[in-house]
Amino acid sequence: MVVEKKSVVVFYKSLFCFFYFFGQMSERFKVPVLKTGKNNILRKFESCFVRLSYSMFFSILFFPFLGSLFAGFFGRFVGRKGSVFLSTFSIFISCFFSWFFFISSFYSPISFHFVLFPWMSVSSLFIYWGFLFDSLTYVILIVVTSVSLLVHLYSSSYIENDPHLPRFISYLSLFTFFMLILITADNFIQMFVGWEGVGLCSFLLINFWFTRIQANKAAIKAIFINRIGDYGLALGIFALYLAVGSVDYAIVFSYVPFLVQNSFYFFIFNFDIVSCVSLLIFIGAVGKSAQLSLHTWLPDAIEGPTPVSALIHAATIVTAGVFLLARSSPFIEYSSFILNVITFFGASTALFAATTGLLQNDLKKVIAYSTCSQLGYIVFACGVSAYHVGVFHLANHAFFKALLFLCAGSVIHAIGDEQDMRKIGGLAKLLPFTYSSIVIGSLALGGFPFLSGFYSKDIILENAYGAFSSAGHFSFFIGSVAAFCTSFYSIRLLYLTFLSPANGFKKRFENIHESSFAISFPLVCLAFGSIFFGFFIKDSFIGLGSSFFNQSIFIAPFHLNSFSGEFLPSHIKLFPSFMAIFGMFSSFLLFNLFRSELVFFKLNPYLRFFYTFFNKKWFFDKFYVEIFGQSGLSFAFQHTYSLIDRGFFEIFGPFGISNSTQFFSISFSFLSSGHLYHYLFSILIFIFSFSFFILSPFSFSPIFFVLIFFMM
């Protein structure tokens, strides 16, 4: 364990020596079988501990669920405050135990695995409801539960006056529960439960103000695009079952080395199993973590209430994809091609979202694109096999991005639901506390030295360069440019919202005030997290030789870039930081001194193209709607429904029969005309044609008769 700060060590040790002892004990009792040959008291103590820790794990998982049930179904009885208190308290319990296990895992990296009861058992497919707690899980656990706790607290004040507060709190808790299921699952299918569950909850949460058309659209878009990713992930799981015969993490990951070079047929092509499955899993991650091509739901999802944006789109749901990548690292590591694909997608996303964020005018949309961009960083970190750095950045990012979103919420709350930055301005003196929080968040996001973002973002870029591959170099430079853009739009946001002269209506500024304690307290906590979390946790997560992620993340020896990343020349190492600070200064100078010249962007036709291109999000939405949406829907109506279902099948089906019966009966009735020569003629025709078919040397297939029948 590499925690350098002596004082911190002493502090932790004194506080958690008890937990350390527990950790050591539990290491030996992963399987709760009591060993004989010891004295009785110790044995009782051990079994007691095992039970205790199990109940602690269960309380992490099921307290949010209980809170959700209480708020959702009994909100009427326990009241608004009661439901908020109950669910916040249950999340607090969950959060407390998560931190407990997280901190105890510094001292002894324990992993727990236990099974509840079988879920599906058919033939060779055995799926259990089982839970796995290891270092990776602990990290995501603390992120999810801490941010969730703070968001619960925040929402109790933020939507205090909404009549549906218990419902909102219930959704939040349910979301947390599904997220916990996702990260604690011990097999892919159970992970999929959480995966889909968070999708559903995000649908409900984005749609919380359900009378708004925009919210409805954004919610459907979110779940629809997520399910495209889920489709890929599901196919990946099926392929895994085909290849390995199991979906348990333990079995699958231990089996991977034997699968290399094996191939199977997917479609009609012969694919390498490991690459194919990795790609399909990555498609799932693309959907959930909003990577380029399936990212469009994330910026739209800001239509939900702001706490939702903070919880879902900053801290949790988008991390699910990264979690999946880190969790399946034993699999993905064996396919360098897919790793390159992941790197490429991640870097492109980072650049795309950062450039789009430059020219957005909606306060929350800038932050949403910033999330998208940061996820790009995390994903290309996974692509260059620096999963631990990716997870580290994920944790840091959760703190400062939740901080930014909550600050934005505070601003929006204060100024009467105005989100357009051009119509705000001048809040620095009116909302000093929010201003200072958002400055901390922005600087941490931009990678300002010694804040959280600095420790993780720069290491990601160093690792990318240290890979010494073309994908690595590509992502390093793209990431540096994105770092410039990130700082640029962060300062732009700060300037337009807080520093520029006030642009809004006077009425809005008259009643402006700092928010209540329930809103401010989460900001303080997250600001502390944004400042200190990276510094404190750096050594254990990404320190050289740190054994924190001992078994939960696998990095193939030939992909170990941390060392080469550590010893890069200084100018390479400083380049991203330089770009970030350069971005900050240029943005500040541009908006402070040359603001009146910015209109040139809209006047000049060439620059206007860039403005439109970035402002309209690279035309992704337009492309999707026009190419897939419109044509698909019109095909569904005009072809499948009108033409085939109500046209072809009806004519050649029942109505053809009924109509043609009528037709035939009329035409046959003409045959019985009563004239002898008519009958004679038909007899002759029949005899001739029949003898022709019978006596001719050709063999006529029966289809010929059918044709004649129809010609009649």
């Binding site: 058919v122 033939s123 889909e196 196919l235 099926f238 029942p654």
Partner: protein, 499 residues
């Protein structure tokens, strides 16, 4: 003499139904009697489930009556694990159907009063029990067709619009046309084997050529009932026009008659042909899933959306049946049960809306969550069950099927898996249109949330959906041995190794 469970189960609703049909009793009494009878049948089926021996893959509770001794047609009943599940589903859904139409079914004219409706349901129930428990092909066929008659009357008399005539016509012509081929096939089998008893037929092996023709004849009949892609046209019509309980029954059970026929007759009797036609079925099923899913998005009628969704889901089960491995096979059977519950529940939801507002057009609805939130909660639950969200029973069924299908043919699984995306599109779109947005107060001026009676209808369905999703083994357990037996004999007779 041991208690004869099956014949009691079969005859009890029939006799009561005939009694209600021909004896003048008040509507209330007839409703109460029929509800009581269906509940007794449900308890009886539970008793059969309890007494059933899972470890055994032969037929149990066998009862034999001589019918035409001279021509070897024996009235023979017995159930194995598969038919047990279907009987349970039927017995479970019947009381809910009756309860749901408690007050919505009105006296039509002097000829048809409420009690006729309930009597028809009882008769229908006993017919369905016969189909699921008969061990003789002729008896199976007769009652497979006989089911048509009460259903025809239910749609034709208690349907909501004038278009019901067209629906009933489509329903009748498709089903009857399909069955004619099957009748020819049965006659051929009878001439070949000299008997139509299931046990004898399974032992018999037809020549490959004959198997192909017979398989086609049988499959066409079953495909109409399932319904598989090109012959699905009657289903949306019939669903839309049928009264709520009729739709529930149609989606819940009558669609399963086709798949049950495939399980019971097409696969074991014609194993070579089944393997021969497997690519054909896969192609049809894959096309059907995508086709019906995208068609569902553009419907204007709530019931039509659910009906097309129902076609898509039932086509997935057909793929599972033809995956020829245990995972897909048992998944398919489980998905049928789950589809019966979920789809039935969705039709019940539509029925609830129709009872209040007398319209099924989506454009007249909006913002229902303001006015009837409890109902919308239930509707949301069944919508997410319909899109196979994990934790609901359809997820278990669909995923097992896709596992099995991927094992058999990955491209088919790819096509079938697109329902993951498409189902979310139409289901959530429908849900969104109905429940979110502003209240369309120009159309919706009366509203009351679900009544106690409706809650009693919905609660068992919610419960079963959750139980099936979280602990499906209680249902899968009874499928293991007989599906393994069926597939083993299947693989042996094909003399090739599918694993």
């Amino acid at each position: 003499m041991p208690f004869s469970y099956i014949s009691t189960l079969v005859t009890f609703p029939f006799i009561t139904g005939v009694f209600i049909l021909f004896f003048p009793i008040t509507p209330l009494h007839s409703k109460r009697i029929s509800l009581l009878v269906t509940i007794v049948c449900f308890y009886l089926s539970i008793l059969i489930w309890v007494l059933f021996d899972y470890s055994n893959d032969t037929f149990q509770f066998v009862e034999t009556f001589s019918w035409y001794p001279s021509s070897n047609v024996i009235l023979s009943f017995g159930i194995d694990g598969i038919s047990l599940m279907f009987i349970l589903l039927t017995a479970f859904l019947m009381p809910i159907c009756l309860l749901s139409s408690w007050s919505s079914i009105k006296k039509k004219n002097n000829f048809f009063a409420e009690h006729h409706f309930f009597a028809l349901f009882l008769i229908l129930e006993s017919f369905i029990f016969v189909v699921f428990s008969s061990l003789d092909l002729i008896v199976f066929y007769s009652f497979f067709e006989a089911v048509l008659m009460p259903m025809f009357l239910i749609i034709g008399i208690w349907g909501s619009r004038e278009r019901k005539i067209r629906a009933a016509y489509l329903f009748f012509i498709y089903t009857l046309f399909g069955s004619l081929l099957m009748l020819l096939g049965i006659l051929f089998i009878y001439l070949e084997c000299g008997s139509t008893h299931y046990i004898i037929l399974v032992e018999n092996s037809f020549s490959p050529e004959k198997q192909k023709y017979l398989w086609l004849a049988f499959f066409f009949s079953f495909a109409v009932k399932v319904p598989i892609f090109p012959v699905h046209l009657w289903l949306p019509e019939a669903h839309v026009e049928a009264p709520t309980a009729g739709s529930v029954l149609l989606a819940g059970i009558l669609l399963k008659l086709g798949t049950y026929g495939i399980i019971r007759y097409s696969l074991p009797l014609f194993p070579l042909a089944s393997v021969f036609f497997r690519p054909f079925v896969f192609a049809l099923g894959s096309v059907a899933i995508i086709y019906t899913s995208i068609t569902a998005i553009r419907q204007s009628d709530i019931k039509r959306v659910i009906a097309y969704a129902s076609v898509a889901h039932i086509n997935i089960t057909v793929l599972g049946l033809f995956s020829f491995n245990l995972v897909g096979f048992e998944g398919a059977i489980f998905q049928m049960l789950s589809h019966g519950v979920v789809s039935g529940a969705l039709f019940l939801c539509v029925g609830v809306l129709y009872d209040r507002h007398h319209s099924r057009l989506i454009k007249y609805y909006g913002g229902l969550v303001h006015t009837i939130p409890l109902f919308i909660t239930l509707f949301l639950f069944f919508t997410i069950a319909n899109i196979a969200l994990p934790g609901t029973s359809s997820f278990v069924g669909e995923f097992l099927i896709l596992f099995g299908t991927f094992y058999a043919n990955s491209f088919t699984a790819f096509a079938a898996g697109s329902s993951i995306v498409l189902s979310s599109a139409y289901s959530l779109w429908l849900f969104n249109r109905l429940s979110y947005g502003n209240v369309k107060s120009q159309f919706i001026n009366i509203s009351f949330d679900i009544t106690k009676r409706e809650f009693y209808c919905f609660f068992p369905l919610v419960f079963l959906t959750l139980v099936g999703g979280i602990y499906p083994n209680i249902f899968l357990k009874s499928l293991h041995s007989c599906s393994a037996g069926l597939l083993c004999s299947f693989i042996l007779s094909n003399d090739f190794n599918l694993y």
